[in-house]
């Protein structure tokens, strides 16, 4: 198909379609349907192979090989898994609320998949639709996923499911705030909510917003991982405490729908992070293909750039999952409300200040910082250096300020409690042996 798109005349498919449909139908119905079909297929395949990748990567991180038996290097494992899940019994507990139990997985999947309609996978025909409030749409629709989790937890009529649903609702609601606030910093540079517009602003300025907004990127990433209920924030499905959380009672196909929703939501968060902070499909020098007339090749290369950036963030997901242990519940709420939301607020204020400063510096002692304001905030080289410096200052400032504020109140005073541990048969006033450093005070006594 890629070869066809590269070498076929640009209008070949359009000509073919115009024999069967009216031009308005082609533009408004046929092409969107083709695009939707491709995106849904690609995402569903990714979900299947995401599980494979996760198993492989986790195996590699634990010096194992992972699935190796089904097909070469276990590449057919997702198909075997899918067949197993499809043929399993679809069990509904007797006391469950049947209809809600029935529909909760569909809500989860739909909420995760609808978001793909506004994500720009590439420049021209690789966008299904470009809504001018795209970012708002993404945040609004992806938060509907919480509803599915709550409904599933409630309808199962099981204590583990209910506790899992409660936890997930508390977690997702609190992390959505930080997530939305973190994105505002990026929007200030792009001056638009349209996702294509944000990418275009970065391409026009030939920079990725991550260098302007390191703090915003970190906040968004942590909030996104927590929003997806992924480790180390996977409290709603903490195996050691809640069996499987909200999907304890689910089995077979319905369970796999929740699984699909989780992986699709991961792709959504990664795609938004890529679009807003990593420049989306923009990569330096790729536009030369467009200049030399290879339009379709340009779109495909840009799409591949987008996929590579997306994969890097998805790898980060797996990497963090198999490195960090799960947080305690109070620590989770602590990070959300005491660290991420305040730092996102500080980031908004500081970014607004930086944008104001850069604009104020324009023309001061012959300094030129602003190139143009037509497509986002377009800075000159001097302006970029100033903005990158301000971004790093903002990161350190945010972290430092919050460390100072939270130093005493962290972990609900558990830290200060822990400093006074009672130990058996250790004389009072001496250091505890638990210290990692050689205890000089202990040897003196």
């Amino acid at each position: 198909m890629i070869m066809l798109a590269l070498f076929a005349p640009v209008n070949f498919i359009n000509d073919l379609l115009s024999r069967f449909f009216a031009p308005e139908t082609i533009n408004n119905v046929v092409w969107p349907v083709i695009q939707i079909g491709v995106v849904v297929t690609v995402v569903a395949t990714w979900v299947a192979y995401g599980t494979y990748l996760e198993r492989k990567i986790s195996a590699f991180m634990q010096a194992r090989l992972g699935p190796m038996r089904v097909g070469p290097w276990g590449l057919l494992q997702p198909i075997a898994d899918g067949l197993k899940l499809l043929t399993k019994e679809d069990f509904i507990p007797e006391k469950a609320d049947r209809w809600i139990f029935f529909f909760a997985p569909y809500i989860a999947v739909v909420a995760a998949f609808v978001v793909f309609s506004v994500i720009p996978f590439g420049p021209d025909w690789a966008v299904i639709t470009d809504v001018n409030i795209g970012l708002l749409f993404v945040i609004a629709v992806s938060s509907v996923g919480v509803l599915a989790l709550i409904l599933a937890g409630w309808a199962s009529n099981s204590k583990y499911s209910l506790l899992g649903g409660l936890r997930s609702s508390a977690q997702m609601v609190s992390y959505e705030v930080g997530m939305g606030l973190a994105l505002i910093g990026g929007i200030m540079f792009a001056r638009t909510l349209s996702l294509s517009g944000i990418v275009a602003a970065q391409a026009f300025d030939s920079i990725w917003f991550i260098v302007y907004q390191p703090a915003g990127f970190l906040i968004f990433l942590v909030s996104g991982i927590a929003e997806n209920n992924r480790a180390p924030f996977d409290l709603p499905e903490a195996e050691s405490e809640l069996v499987a959380g909200f999907h304890t009672e689910y089995s077979g196909f319905r369970w796999s729908l929740f699984f699909m929703a989780e992986y699709a939501a991961m792709v959504v968060v990664s795609a938004v992070a890529t679009t807003v902070y990593l420049g989306g499909w923009y990569f330096p020098f790729v536009y030369k293909l467009e200049v030399s007339g290879w339009h379709n090749a340009y779109v495909i290369v840009s799409f591949l750039v987008f996929i590579i950036k997306l994969s890097l963030i998805l790898y980060l997901y797996f990497w963090l999952r198999w490195t960090l242990p799960r947080f305690r519940y109070d620590q989770l709420m602590d990070i959300g409300w005491k660290w991420l939301i305040p730092s996102a607020l500080i980031n908004i204020v500081f970014t607004a200040f930086s944008v104001f400063l850069v604009q104020a510096l324009d023309g001061w002692h012959g300094l030129r910082t602003i190139e143009s304001m037509t497509q986002g905030l377009n800075l000159t080289a001097t302006g970029k250096v100033i903005m990158i410096g301000l971004g790093l200052v903002g990161l350190l400032l945010t972290g430092g300020l919050l460390s100072l504020i939270n130093w005493r109140s962290r972990d609900f005073h558990l830290k200060s409690q822990r400093r006074n541990i009672r130990l058996v048969s250790v004389p009072s006033g001496t250091s505890a042996v638990a210290s990692t450093r050689p205890a000089a005070a202990a040897t003196e006594s």
Partner: protein, 177 residues
């Protein structure tokens, strides 16, 4: 019981906490293992993978390992070495061996004699604890516990090995890939 003050973190430790030093160190460790395993060319002998690829690669068992029983035969005549002396059955603490002998007429130096030969040998591997006392008791080194360890079957009856299974070995599927 006395109250002990745990040392407060000094400046270096506070800096490490602020820049998430330990978190990054942990991420580096997992990345190191990931790259090591992903670039491991020979997964059997390589450094990146530490697991044994069992059905593909037969594990090395210890020399003193006792596994599936076997009745040895004379390598030239292919007659059984067993003389049906019943010593193994007597030595067995689990009483899992049954030796069934029969008398046959033989002519020794022109005179008819009756000789005791092995008819059937029953070995219940589900009761066996692989102590190899039977192997030590055997005067002709006929009964031997080999290093084969794949003894699982689909039924209880499958655990009871008869003379043919003991002599020829049981058929098992050997996975090579």
């Amino acid at each position: 019981m006395s109250l002990v003050k745990v040392q407060k973190p000094d400046f270096i430790q506070k800096l490490k906490r602020f820049f998430l030093f330990d978190l990054l160190k942990g991420l580096g460790l997992t990345l190191k293992y990931n790259i090591g395993a992903a670039t491991d060319k020979d997964s059997v002998a390589g450094k990146g993978i530490y697991t044994e690829q069992y059905p593909k690669v037969r594990p090395d068992v210890a020399p003193r390992f006792h596994g599936a029983p076997r009745l040895n035969m004379d390598p030239e005549t292919h007659d059984t070495l067993c003389i049906a002396c019943n010593l193994c059955a007597l030595a067995c603490p689990e009483d899992c061996i049954d030796v069934l002998a029969m008398d046959v007429e033989v002519v020794v130096a022109g005179k008819p004699r009756r000789k005791k030969v092995l008819d059937e040998f029953i070995f219940d591997t589900s009761r066996c604890m692989f102590c190899a006392l039977c192997q030590e008791a055997c005067p002709t080194s006929c009964l031997e516990l080999t290093q084969d360890f794949e003894l699982a079957t689909y039924s209880r009856a499958g655990f009871v090995w008869n003379r043919e299974m003991l002599e020829q070995g049981r058929e098992t599927v050997k996975y090579t890939s």
